[in-house]
């Protein structure tokens, strides 16, 4: 995002809305942990809320929503390798995973 084409008042209002959403998301994260869900759904719910919060930070605080294509390609590549990094150990440990308890 170039400094010259910013509607800063609108941007600041967006920051405040994101701030409120992050606070609510954090309270939800803690609240969800008191529901005592089985391990699988508990992990899924916690990571879902964390992903939503993380997306808000990346899109609005880090301005990714207004970035150039070059940054999208760069971070897209990083995300692909990130998923690869997480998937490989999961595949190798598939036999040990028990999320039902």
């Amino acid at each position: 995002m170039s400094h010259h084409d910013i509607d800063i008042d609108k941007t600041v209002r967006t920051y405040m809305m994101v701030f409120a959403a992050l606070i609510v998301g954090t309270i939800l994260t803690v609240g969800a942990s008191y529901i005592h869900l089985p391990t699988g759904p508990a992990i899924a719910l916690a990571l879902l809320i964390a992903s939503a919060k993380g997306s808000l930070v990346v899109l609005f605080f880090m301005h990714l929503i207004d970035e150039k294509k070059f940054i999208y390609w760069l971070m897209g590549l990083a995300v692909v390798f990130f998923i690869f990094e997480l998937t490989v150990p999961l595949i190798t440990e598939m036999n040990n995973i028990d999320l039902g308890s």
Partner: protein, 199 residues
């Protein structure tokens, strides 16, 4: 003869971005890989362990971690407000918001210090259990990032702020790049909090 570093303010014709922004995003891409590897380590050790214990078994404090999450989120907002103040050419507001950001970073580390000393006083070390090895590695590396970000933000609040008088646009870019790093540190904590304290 002095040589100016190219494209610190004006965008490169090929990417449409200045080098500061490309540099910091490239660095963040490498950071995604670094923390990705550690999260992968967490997964493989958690599902492979025959004696897995959650954080609550070692007395990890959810209220303290919750407070730390709020502190980091607040610091992210003050960081973007510091940058927005420079866009508005309001330097005194910039100083205020950047000062709060640095203090929030300090507050985060003080809480982390309280947590660490509490664990040590109970005889909990990285070698005690696989969970604690992961806890100290992940939070320790994250803490180093907080200290680094705090240090650079303190520089931009203090001596580094002189650049505002001579090259305001370049200074604004520096604050934006530092902000990108700081938000990344916040982003990592957003995932560390549930993974280590709640699951």
């Amino acid at each position: 003869m002095s040589m100016a570093i190219p494209y610190t303010v004006e965008p490169r014709p090929d990417t449409g971005l200045n080098n500061v922004k490309i540099g910091i995003w490239l660095f963040l891409a490498s950071e995604v890989m670094l923390f990705g590897g550690l999260f992968a380590g967490y997964i493989i050790l958690r599902v492979g362990s025959t004696d897995w214990q959650p954080g609550s078994a070692f007395g990890l404090s959810v209220p303290l971690a919750f407070t730390n999450t709020l502190v980091l989120i607040t610091s992210s907002v003050t960081m973007v407000m510091a940058w927005a103040s420079l866009i508005r050419k309001d330097f005194s507001k910039y100083r205020l918001y950047m000062g709060i950001t640095v203090l929030c970073g300090l507050g985060f580390m003080v809480i982390k210090y309280i947590e660490y000393t509490s664990k040590f006083s109970h005889g909990y070390y990285p070698s005690t259990h696989i969970f604690l090895a992961l806890y100290f590695t992940l939070t320790g590396l994250h803490g180093i990032h907080v200290i680094a970000g705090m240090g650079y933000n303190a520089y931009l609040w203090g001596p580094g702020a002189k650049m505002w008088e001579t090259a305001p646009e370049q200074f604004t870019n520096r604050v934006e790049a530092s902000g990108l790093f700081w938000h990344f540190v916040d982003l990592v904590w957003i995932f560390l909090f549930p993974v280590l304290y709640l699951l």
